[in-house]
Amino acid sequence: MSIERKDDYDHGEWMREKNLTPVETTFLTALIWMDKRFRIVDYLEILETLYYRVNLQMPKSHTEQYNLDNKFWYWYPLYALGSFSTIAYVVAAVSGALLGFYYAPATTGDPSSAYNQLAFIMTDLNFGFMLRSLHRWSAQVMVAAVFLHMLRVYFTGAYKEPRELNWIIGIILISLTMVFGYTGYLLPWDQLAFWAGQIGVEMSLSIPLAGEWVAQLVFGGFSLGQATLQRMYILHVFFLPFVVTTIIGVHIAIVWIQGIAEPH
């Protein structure tokens, strides 16, 4: 859009012929006054141009093809949700890496080293409360953003041919996001964590045939203990980060290659 010629008009003349209410005229005049002094819109347009220059492989979109330009503008803000998920993920990764300097996945001690380290982070460590809050909030925001992103994709029909694969990858991503949340929830090893773990073990055990094997593999036994915490820890800070980062990379690469779907 911004590559096109800018519309040239004379503010005063244009507004006079337009039949605006006094409030509207004042509103527009005030904003035009601001715009003349702070050229924020110009800088945003430079960013927009940059975006279109970088996305050379973007195929002609549905809206361009059928000259529907601008008809679907009200969907576009929701296109930010995928990036919003990514940003939340990065914030969680960075704050989590920093928390890793102070956390210990051990059930020994009174009540446990894991819990004591959390108490240390929350009460003694400089900016520790802030750090843990950042980690928890970004995790929750990520879950919400991913879910809303999925709704955006569904309601704009972006999952349709040829983007079926990315929808399936998305389902894997939202599942892994929740596993990330669950394993992290167990790490404080407080009452909430312990009983959430108990529920997990029992859910695993209820699986026909494979139940005992799954409980052993994921929770390290049929009752909770050091093995459980250690497995949750490795899943949360070693296994999932590599897997999820890679899959998000593939997911976004596919969007890059295929071009973004316009709403239709």
């Binding site: 904003l31 945003l44 008809k71 679907f72």
Partner: protein, 107 residues
Amino acid sequence: MAPDTDDATDSEGETRAREVEVPLRLYKVVTVFSTMFAVAFVVGGFIVLDTATQRASLSLSELDLPLAVLGVGMIAAGAFVYAFSTRFRAEGMGKPKDDADEHSDNG
């Protein structure tokens, strides 16, 4: 529904939001600046309200009433600026829901 009735009522006699078509560049100005003002007013309003009530910890008799009113007023002003800005449309922009050009058959 009758297409392209730009007056204030639709066929069922409900009042419809006013639409003002402006040039694209001006639409961007409206969007960018009114969003900025709205955000500043609403966030600022909450900060003022927090200050007036010491983060909602004071009793009714202790709180700084004028400051609290100012805070609520700022939040309302931010909401007003945002709501007001939504009546402006650039040329060719569809309207959500009641746009006659939009079909539900995937185009």
